[in-house]
């Protein structure tokens, strides 16, 4: 199997795209640490469910709790994974939230919460995980950006800024880590059917659909396929890239 012997850490993996990525990486043979944050009780149940799903299909996984905004917590999480499985090969920075509002109505809290989780979280996880990748001179860092990080979106200046930040972060770290055979890439999904996009009103969904040449919203599994490709040996010469996966809406 393509990811046999690999160890992956997927943040925000209890639901949505993160869950699909964790399941996909495990299906390719990787051991997977399923990160969740204990803000809502359901997150732990959901993370345990991902771990059980992986175990049922003969894979190996564990749930790891950490708030990605917290430096000490992230450090402890990375150490927990390395203690159990001896290394980290693949980091997927997926944990993310949105708190939408038009600029004039956006609270400082909404701005900080989104930037801290989506951008600072990716920074902290990458910082602590690459140490282990550098030693072994092999690694993959794949971060979830978004098409709105490329093209912007009214009502999401905080989210779009965090996702645009992921792109610049990715390109910079790719330059730093190339000599250690660590590739650093981002994926930019369009409209994917998850808890985050389910909150959209039906009219909005319909107008979005009209913009998509492939005439359907994306599924978490679509994104997971791309992440799995970037995580594998076959993508070894791709770094510093942002790959859009949006059904053709924003080429």
């Amino acid at each position: 199997m393509e990811l046999e012997e690999k160890v992956s850490l997927v943040t925000g993996a209890s639901r949505g795209i993160g869950r699909a990525i964790a399941l996909k990486l495990a299906s390719l043979g990787s051991r997977v640490a399923v990160n969740y944050v204990a803000i809502e009780a359901s997150n732990k149940t959901d993370a345990d469910d991902v771990v059980e799903s992986i175990a049922r299909t003969g894979g190996e996984a564990m749930a790891v709790e950490a708030d990605v905004r917290n430096s000490e917590a992230v450090k402890a999480m990375v150490e927990q994974v390395v203690e159990k499985w001896g290394k980290i090969d693949i980091l997927v920075n997926n944990a993310g939230i949105n708190r939408d509002a038009l600029l004039l109505r956006m609270s400082d809290d909404a701005w900080d919460a989104v930037i801290d989780t989506n951008l600072r979280g990716a920074f902290l996880c990458t910082k602590f995980a690459v140490r282990h990748m550098m030693r072994q001179e092999w690694g993959r860092v794949i971060s979830l950006s978004s098409v709105v990080g490329r093209v912007g979106n009214a009502g999401q200046c905080n989210y779009a800024a965090s996702k645009g930040g992921i792109i610049a972060f990715t390109k910079s770290v790719a330059r730093e880590m190339g000599s250690r055979n660590i590739t650093v890439n981002a994926v930019a999904p369009g409209f994917i059917v998850t808890g985050m996009t389910n909150k959209l009103p039906p009219e909005t969904r319909d107008s979005l659909l009209a913009m998509i040449p492939l005439q359907r919203l994306g599924q978490p599994e679509d994104v997971a396929e791309l992440v799995a490709f970037l995580a594998g040996e076959r993508a070894g010469y791709i770094t510093g890239q942002v790959i859009t996966i949006d059904g053709g809406a924003f080429p």
Partner: protein, 81 residues
């Protein structure tokens, strides 16, 4: 192994040079260590000896000997506490 030998091993491994070429007078340039090699070595040494080496201090290291002396003094201090 002495502190110096342990640090020499780390620097040699990261910079991919034979450790015999690293003397206390060697500069990072002599060892052909680039900025990432230096940072990686600092982090590895910090983890091994459970000390912190502030960037302001590290930037002043003129050679391998300065690096070793600083770590030795930090480790000695930590042992006294």
């Amino acid at each position: 192994m002495t502190i110096e030998e342990q640090i020499r091993d780390i620097v040699a491994r990261i910079s991919r040079v034979d450790k015999s070429i690293i003397t206390r007078e060697s500069t990072f340039k002599d060892i052909k260590a680039d900025s990432l090699d230096v940072v990686q070595a600092l982090v590895a040494v910090e983890e091994l000896f459970e000390i912190e080496i502030p960037d302001e201090v590290a930037q002043k290291f003129q050679n391998f000997g300065d690096f070793v002396s600083y770590v030795e003094s930090k480790v000695a201090k930590a042992e006294k506490v």
